[in-house]
């Protein structure tokens, strides 16, 4: 079970804009996410879901507007866990080497113990000495999730976490997300279509052309956010 974050953090996008030439990735986006919320983001390909998450992770600087955090002090980057579509781990290192490397970079206390615990948690303890390049997509995703959880983040960002996973891995991931949500983490995840993962969300947002076109909490509207074809 993931440990509860010391202080979950909230997010505030204020008229955020990001464009590449004449194409807007995010357009006049204003959005407030409270600490501890679990938000699912839906939208077609190119609607701005990934860009929104990358702006939230401070990996992309908005062209206009501001992004602010609430609920914690100091540098927010170490408090953010990001699971992108790419695994963000090294194929030439083993699962354990990858996690130890990132644990040392993030200056996690007792890195060896933390890594050992996470390897058990993600079910990779038997393959800890195998190179990541020998792993299946599901196993890589488990390493990616373990990496994101190393520093006990307060804000978790998931970019289509279920892509390419089989039913068993998908069920495992849903269970992990449920535990993280219940532990008080703020979660922001982009999803394609309705799924078990979508049902974990306490709020659903729909993006189109970089703008929020629907925003609802649990209720009649909730399922319709994911129900539109091609999402």
């Amino acid at each position: 079970m993931p440990a509860a974050p010391e202080c979950p953090i909230g997010l505030q996008f204020d008229q955020v804009e990001k464009r590449y030439g004449v194409v807007y990735a995010l357009r006049n986006l204003t959005l407030s996410i409270a600490a501890g919320e679990c938000v699912a983001i839906a939208g077609r390909n190119g609607s701005g879901k990934t860009k929104l998450l990358r702006v939230a992770a401070q990996l992309v600087r908005p062209g206009r507007g501001t992004l602010s955090y609430s609920g914690a002090e100091g540098n927010y980057r170490p408090k953010i866990g990001f699971v992108a579509h790419a695994t963000m781990v090294y194929d030439e290192l083993t699962a354990e080497e990858n996690l130890l490397f990132f644990a040392k970079l993030q200056r996690v206390g007792n890195p060896s113990e933390r890594v050992a615990a996470l390897l058990i948690e993600v079910g990779l303890v038997d393959r800890k000495d195998s190179l990541v390049r020998t792993f299946s997509r599901g196993m890589r995703q488990r390493v990616a999730i373990a990496r994101a959880l190393l520093a006990r983040p307060s804000l978790l960002l998931f970019d289509e976490p279920g892509t390419g996973l089989d039913a068993e891995s998908s069920a495992w991931l849903t269970e992990q997300l449920r535990k993280l949500r219940d532990s008080g983490c703020t979660i922001l995840m982009s999803l394609h279509g309705d799924s078990e993962m979508a049902r974990l969300a306490t709020r659903a947002i729909r993006l189109d052309a970089g703008s929020v076109i629907a925003d609802t909490r649990r209720g009649a509207m909730f399922q319709s956010i994911f129900a539109v074809a091609g999402c």
Partner: protein
């Protein structure tokens, strides 16, 4: 302290992955070896000619080897988007540059040291007592190539024509340090060799200036 500790961890990873794959070292060593051997057989230089032209050929070979080595240093981080993971993990993005520079300098120096006896044999050159001076020149020259090259590799990795962009930007920017490195090496290979401290000072200044620029603006080079 966080900067140095992060950089040390990153250098450890760079060295581990390189010695595991041997992608960069094997490519550059073979490349420099081919250049030195081809030049040697093409010119068949006498000792005097070697003293005049040898250092230039040597630094040209190092430059081309470096451009081969520098190109993948950030491209490899894009394969699984590990650069984003690094940016999220480190306190100061300069640690990423510091580690890449240290690793590139180390790999380049290793290539140069392996090539030195081959060059000495093929070009009738003898370094003997001048070896400490040669090592100092190689160190400062390689550091300069790595500092500029690493910065440009980070910029070009985001660009569309990245394979063309890096050499195109690298060669003109490195001209000053290559000229000075060659001049210092020529003095060290003369019949009455000496270490030109003015040249060493210029190389150190070049390294310091570009390292400072990278420290100030490096974060912007990593942004998408």
């Amino acid at each position: 302290m966080a900067l140095l500790s992060n950089a040390a961890v990153l250098v450890g990873k760079e060295v581990r992955t390189e010695f595991r794959s041997r992608e960069l070292l094997s490519t550059t060593i073979v490349f420099v070896l081919i250049v030195v051997v081809v030049f040697s057989f093409t010119f068949d230089p006498t000792t005097n000619e070697s003293r005049r032209f040898g250092p230039g050929l040597l630094w040209m070979a190092f430059l081309f080897a470096a451009s081969l080595m520098l190109q993948p240093c950030f491209l490899r981080e894009q394969v699984n988007d590990t650069l984003s993971a690094l940016r999220l993990a480190v306190r100061d993005p300069f640690a990423i540059f510091l580690a890449k520079i240290a690793a590139n300098t180390l790999f380049l120096l290793l290539t140069e040291l392996l090539m030195l006896p081959v060059f000495a044999a093929l070009f009738n050159a003898s370094f003997g007592a001048q070896l400490p001076g040669i090592l100092l020149t190689f160190l400062l020259g390689s550091l300069g190539i790595s500092v500029v090259g690493t910065a440009l590799a980070a910029i070009s990795a985001q660009a569309r024509m990245r394979e063309l962009l890096l050499p195109l930007l690298l060669l003109p920017l490195l001209t000053p340090i290559l000229v000075v490195s060659t001049e210092v090496t020529i003095r060290l290979m003369q019949s009455e060799p000496y270490l030109e401290w003015k040249g060493i000072g210029l190389m150190a200044a070049f390294d310091a200036v570009f390292l400072t620029v990278l420290w100030l603006f490096g974060e912007y080079f990593l942004e998408e």
